[in-house]
Assembly symmetry: C2
Homo-oligomer: 241 residues x 2
DNA sequence: CGAGCCCTTGACACTGTTCAAGGGCGGTGG
DNA sequence: CCACCGCCCTTGAACAGTGTCAAGGGCTCG
């Protein structure tokens, strides 16, 4: 099932088997896209949305000097640009970080869902608002935390999201981002990310090397990042469906 | 009409008279709330959403030291926490900045709208995604711009939004925020905001004093803030309905 | 008249950036 | 097979931007 991980282990979001099936059949075939490719470019009208089945993608915008700011990271099981359905245009670029497997769904199919399956439509709406809640948390992160706090917060969030879809191994997980990518997510230079990570490593809080993150002291990391996971709506007890 | 300003002058968002009427009738009576009040508190389950008819509100979260980060500013004509409808809980606080006039709508009424008026429901969805697009721009602002750039970007955005609902007078507008509020929106201290504003004033770019903002050189201000208004979906030619 | 809030200004400290150099690693072509 | 190149990470030193602390002035409200 392509959509098996969609909204998995999220509070307040139950899809009935019929709804999941409806969504499943609306999706096109799975497609593999290599790392570091643009998938949808800012400003162009789009008639479909992208569902991410495997790998990592990012949404980002560039400043005038060409420096990039990530505005969202996406992990498997997420609709990556469902926003484009009501908006019809993307206000940012969408690209792959690693090799990914995606499937697209035409906006006509989504319109039909809103007319015939209002509860499923509300669940899709819900998933876009989860993105918005993460955006708000990123605003908080950038506005109020120090460099180390930002990195800590980002890693905590990413662990929760990956764990919810079964992609964490204890407190370790694959995260194929370079330190520059991390910097672009956290509003820091790659040089400073390097310093922050080596300090966190020395302190035993977390070790991020070679695309693998191993959180050594989760409570301490969460404290440093002032991280509270409520906004992710993760189910209290994780259930493997 | 309470909803006269809702989505006014926004591209891709046409409400039919019948839809506007339906929305209008779903709203409760207008209520006045004084400045600096909390309206909805983080974490509490809410059964209604708030529509802002007059005045300014903000959504915000506090860090551990009690310092506040605004994650959204709201101007008249906007649904302030429609997010609470699909999410059922707010992940942040919602409060008034000035005296405001609001009206609430019960979530049962909204559920009925999604079942009986799918196009109106998509327009409501659209309005929540406009919020998300603004969130992304705030991430960009905090992640990539200097102090002066952040303030410039914030003021440009606010002008566009107020102009769209007819609350700008040329390039001037009322904005009853203190410099501390501005700092909480832009991730700066009030001291630094003061310095930034006085520099912008001296340079003739913008004068923000006594709750009134007068933009002296809009192109220069937009350049400084690297501001591009596409994400606001403002109609190309403003139309007064 | 005093209290409290808001704004301004100065001196200083600190966090993070910039610039620069070097090492490790993998892929590619001679 | 080896040399080379490009990318990624690390480290150092100097520097810039912003925060912190502190003091003072203007205004409104009680």
């Amino acid at each position: 099932l392509k959509t098996a991980q969609f909204l998995r282990n999220r509070r307040g979001a139950q899809l009935s088997p019929a709804e999941r099936d409806l969504l499943e059949r609306a999706l096109g075939p799975a497609v593999i896209v290599p790392a570091r490719q643009i998938v949808v470019e800012k400003g162009l009208p789009v008639g479909f949305s992208t569902f991410l089945m495997a790998g990592f993608m990012a949404r980002y915008m560039d400043d005038r000097a060409g420096h990039r700011q990530l505005v969202a990271l996406h992990v498997p099981g997420e609709f990556v640009d469902l926003h484009a359905f009501p908006l019809q245009v993307l206000d940012h670029d969408l690209g792959t970080l690693s090799d990914v497997t995606i499937a697209t769904v035409g906006h006509d199919r989504l319109t039909a869902i809103t007319e015939q399956a209002p509860h499923l439509a509300r669940m899709l709406w819900f998933s876009t608002l989860l993105d918005a809640a993460m955006h708000r948390e990123w605003i908080f992160r950038l506005g109020r935390l120090s460099g180390a706090g930002r990195v800590a917060h980002f890693l905590c969030e990413t662990w929760y999201r990956l764990d919810a879809v079964g992609l964490a191994d204890g407190h370790a997980f694959r995260l194929p981002l370079t330190q520059s990518d991390l910097g672009e997510a956290c509003g820091l230079t790659n040089v400073h990310v390097s310093r922050v990570l080596s300090r966190l490593r020395r302190q035993g809080l977390v070790d991020a090397t070679d695309g693998v993150v191993r959180i050594g002291d989760f409570p301490a990391l969460a404290r440093l990042g002032e991280f509270e996971p409520d906004y992710l709506f993760i189910a209290d007890r994780l259930v493997v469906p």
